[in-house]
Structures are given as structure tokens and as C-alpha cells.
Symmetry: C2
Subunit: 309 residues, 2 copies
């Protein structure tokens, strides 16, 4: 028989599902992690039973899971009104298309909220990281892929699907940058020009290894600044966070700030931007913990528990 919940508080089952690993945790709604595991992202046949075993053992020790929050790689159906909510859609990842989180978590009898990894990271940063106090916060990852989550008043925004900011088209001067782009759909969209794989394909090394090359930094910074300016004009967030592996290149966030400011050219006048973009365009505050923190916040939404912070 499971032990009573810690202090009587309901417990959250949180999952950060990434392309290479799953992090699963049992946590309090305030974010205290009571148990945690790491499972390699192989196929649902290996990964899902391991998840079920972890949560079964964790609730045996700490008390029953009251709600699940999942922040997952995609593409995945995150529309709660859809009959296929929580199902991987057109992912090229072998075995995952059609897999559904409800298949493994449903047997626990707790409500489940599923969102994208980047929405989860945005929610985590909003709750406990660099986005605290923001009414509208945009979190963008520039890494293997490029994606943006937007949280407004503590909920992630979506329309008919999650956003796909990686596929916007920045102006591309082929004299300056003859690289044709690596996106199989669009060639030189943002992801095709500025993702980690695009950078490797163009220069044979990572941006980090090119850090002394200010022209390379400014080229990539300019593409990212195009997204930053577009997010300002089409979402008007209180703050933009840029994370992911590419953003770790020294000098890049400074270049993004400088070029975003040049692109907007003073048109958007607001106290949050007017003093310079040092506090408007920032890097993540939580590092590798944003995803699991966001998954806990999603679990809290499933409970309709008031979010801490």
C-alpha cells in the first residue's frame, strides 16, 4: 500500500521527453524532487515500461501520483480537445509515430497534461528561472532544431498546433553567406541557416569552435535577431530567452541583442526595451533543469493547483 503523500500534498509525475533521453521525476507541486530517473530514448517498447516501473516504485515509496505533466519532443499533438492528444504525429524517429503518453500513464488514473519540450522549458523558466515575473515570455532553443514556446499568464500559447518558429524565413544575402541552407522543407529557413547541424554543415565545426570569428558570430546572430524582432512584433513578450547548444558560443547573445536593436530601430517604444536589450534578450536561468521544472508545472496545471511563484 502506498505511503501517505508527503505533508498531505498531491504529488506530480513529471516527464521531460527528449530526443536522446527521458528524465522522469516524482515531485511536489512546489518543485521539490523526491525521486528521479533517466531513461534512454530508444523505442516506446523499452521506454514506456521503464517509465511505468519508475512511477510505480516512486509512488510506493512517496505516495500516489495525483497528476502527470509531460514536456516532450515532437511533433506531438498538444491540443487537449483532440482525440489524439498526447500522440506523436509525423516524427521521423523510428517507432515513435503513433505512440501516446496516455498508453503508459493512463493506468495510474491521474490527469495528464502534455506539451512540447520548448513550451515546457518556457514554463520552467517562467516559474523559477530567467522569466520570473513576466506576463508574456518567449523561450527559444537554438540547437539541433530551432523552436519557440510562448507562455502568457502561466499558460503556453498555441493555435491549431504548437508554433514552428524555426521555419520562418530570414533575409538571406547569398553574397555574404553562399550556404544554401539545410532544411529539407525550406532550404534557408532559420533552422536551415542557424541550427547546430546547419552550422556544422556550413563550416565543418560548431559555432563554439568559431568563437573568435566575429563574422561567423554576427552572421548567425543576424538570423537569430530576425526571429527575435519577429517575436517582438508578433507576440510582444516581456522578455525573450534564447537557449540551446548554439547559444553557448561566446559573443552570440550580445550579437543577437545588437542586431535586434538595429532591426527594430526604436520603433517599439516601451520601458522594457528602451534602456537597451541586456535585460530583454537573455540566456536561460535554469540550465538543464528548465525542462523537468516545466513538466512539474504542467502537472500542476493538470491538477489545477495554483502555481507557486
Amino acid at each position: 500500500m502506498p505511503a501517505a503523500p508527503l505533508n498531505g500534498a498531491p504529488l506530480i509525475g513529471a516527464i521531460e521527453a527528449g530526443g536522446t533521453k527521458f528524465i522522469a521525476a516524482l515531485a511536489t507541486p512546489e518543485g521539490e524532487i523526491l525521486a528521479r530517473t533517466r531513461i534512454p530514448t530508444q523505442t516506446p517498447e523499452t521506454c514506456f515500461p521503464a517509465l511505468a516501473d519508475f512511477f510505480a516504485a516512486a509512488q510506493e515509496e512517496h505516495g500516489p501520483v495525483a497528476a502527470f505533466g509531460v514536456a516532450s519532443f515532437g511533433p506531438i499533438d498538444i491540443d487537449p480537445t483532440s482525440p489524439t492528444y498526447g500522440t506523436f504525429t509525423t516524427t521521423p524517429k523510428p517507432g515513435w509515430q503513433g505512440a501516446r503518453f496516455h498508453d503508459v500513464l493512463g493506468s495510474f488514473g491521474a490527469p495528464i497534461v502534455v506539451d512540447t519540450d520548448v513550451n515546457g522549458a518556457c514554463l520552467g523558466e517562467w516559474m523559477k528561472g530567467a522569466g520570473q515575473g513576466c506576463r508574456t515570455l518567449a523561450y527559444t532553443t537554438i540547437g539541433t532544431g530551432v523552436g519557440t514556446g510562448v507562455v502568457s499568464h502561466g499558460r503556453s500559447l498555441m493555435g491549431i498546433s504548437h508554433f514552428e518558429s524555426g521555419h520562418i524565413l530570414p533575409p538571406h544575402d547569398r553574397t555574404l553567406d553562399p550556404f544554401a541552407g539545410s532544411c529539407p522543407y525550406h532550404g534557408d529557413c532559420l533552422e536551415g541557416l542557424a541550427s547546430g547541424p546547419a552550422i556544422e554543415k556550413r563550416w565543418g565545426k560548431s559555432l563554439d569552435q568559431l568563437a573568435g570569428d566575429s563574422a561567423a558570430i554576427d552572421l548567425i546572430g543576424g538570423y537569430i535577431a530576425h526571429l527575435a524582432a519577429s517575436l517582438v512584433l508578433l507576440q510582444m513578450p516581456d522578455r525573450l530567452i534564447f537557449g540551446g547548444g548554439v547559444m553557448k558560443a561566446p559573443g552570440l547573445v550580445e550579437s543577437v541583442r545588437r542586431q535586434t536593436e538595429a532591426k527594430l530601430n526604436g520603433y517599439v517604444s516601451h520601458p522594457r526595451l528602451d534602456a537597451g536589450l541586456e535585460t530583454y534578450i537573455v540566456t536561460p536561468g535554469l540550465g538543464d533543469d528548465a525542462g523537468i521544472t516545466g513538466a512539474i508545472a504542467l502537472g500542476c496545471q493538470a491538477l489545477d493547483v495554483a502555481l507557486p511563484g
Copy 2:
């Protein structure tokens, strides 16, 4: 003494404030207009007393105004938590900077909701026009200026301010289109390339007068398609409505559909887009009535009356 409200329903004072004229109406929450007037947009000193006189006479005849909804030209502060909510900010329009709708409407003692003209039109189209049934709807006007409003679940979205979609930067091939653009801030942003004044400045005539020139239609259609694709990727609406004077040019909406489809290139797969964009990218359903219909809906929000439709 004012007459009793019609059927006991609360009455809405609605104002569509445009750059050349104000439309003011007293209406039921269902949108039936009981009295209506048109006031030239001169200065607040002439315009505001005329508004006050109209509503005083209208409520004498039909019953008291229970709430006001205002859909206005801008820039205007639409943040309800701001101390300057409802105040014109940096508008170059002589006399209007610092004018505030609460100064004229406050004496009626009814709650006031102020939003932008394009958000109002979006709300109107959502309620009774081409956006009925959409959960997320984007309405863009391409006219003297370019702007987009987005309504989600019956409320217009905003961040620290209203959106400024007219100032996004489409790719600009200067070999194909040597026109430098007319935006005083950005030169060749969307408004600088595709607004009515930009078209007049480039070709000395309106796009309507150039309707036989398919290269001109496709050039402007391509710039607008850049916004359409960006809205899909960053907002994922159920539908995009494009209105305003420029959109009346024959063949333009078809060109926007065709080029948006080419830009997205099948990446966003969803039933609303997969069958072609004929029902996804459309022109307004209400014509000139979108603005005042939206202002009535804003008044309903001020009342917290459930919106019809």
C-alpha cells in the same frame, strides 16, 4: 429621465475610432444598433464633445449605457493594468497625443474597454463574420498602414503592447524590386513595401489600377505571403483574414494563397491547411461593419456579458 433599457438588456456604447472618422453607436449586446452617428476625426476638442452629446441623447431615448467598447486607431495604450490605459501615445496625428477615451466617457459611469482598430475588426469578424467558429483568428489590414489583430477564445492577444506586424522584414530582392521602401523607421519592412502609400510611391497608382499587371500583384502578394507564413509559424491560427484597401485588388488574395503555400511547402500539416488555402486565407465577411461590431463585442467584455455567437 432615461427610458428603461430595451427588453431590460444592458446597452453598449460602441466607438470605432478611425483616422478619418469616428463611428459611434448605441447597441444591444447581440449587436442590434439602436442609434448611430459619424463624426469626423478632427481634434479631441471637437470630437470628444460630439461623442458625449451623441451618447447623452441616445441613452435619453433608449436607456442608459451599461458599458463602452472602443476600437481605435493608435498607437494607443491598451494594457488594462496601465495607468494610461486608453491614452493615445506617440501618434503623429495633431492634437491626439495624450488624449484619453476615459476623459470623455468617464462621466457616464460605465466600464470602458479600449482596444486597437485591428483587434476590434478581428473580434467583429470572429463574432459575426468570416472568422466564426475559429478558436484562434488573425485579421490583417493592408491599407494606409499594415497591422494584425489576433483573437483567441474570444479575447484579443497582446503582450506588453499590441502587435506591430506591419514592421516585419520580408526578404526583399532589389533586382526584382528596386523600390527602397517607404517606412521612416525601417525602409523596406512590410508596411514600407506593401501598404497603399508604398504602392502609390513605387508605381504612382494604386494596386487596383495595376490589376492587369500580374508581376505587380505577385510582388505585393509575396510580401503579404511572408506575413501570412510568419503568422502561421508564430501563431498557428485557425484562419487568416486579410482586409483593407490594398486587398481589394483583383487577384491579390489568390496570389497570397499561392505564395503562402509555396513558402510553407507542406511543413505544417493540419486538416485546416492540407486541402489548399481557399478556406484558410480569406477576405473579410463584414466589410465596413467589422469595426463597429468589434467595438460592441469589446463593450460586452466590459460587461462580462457572455458573447453571442
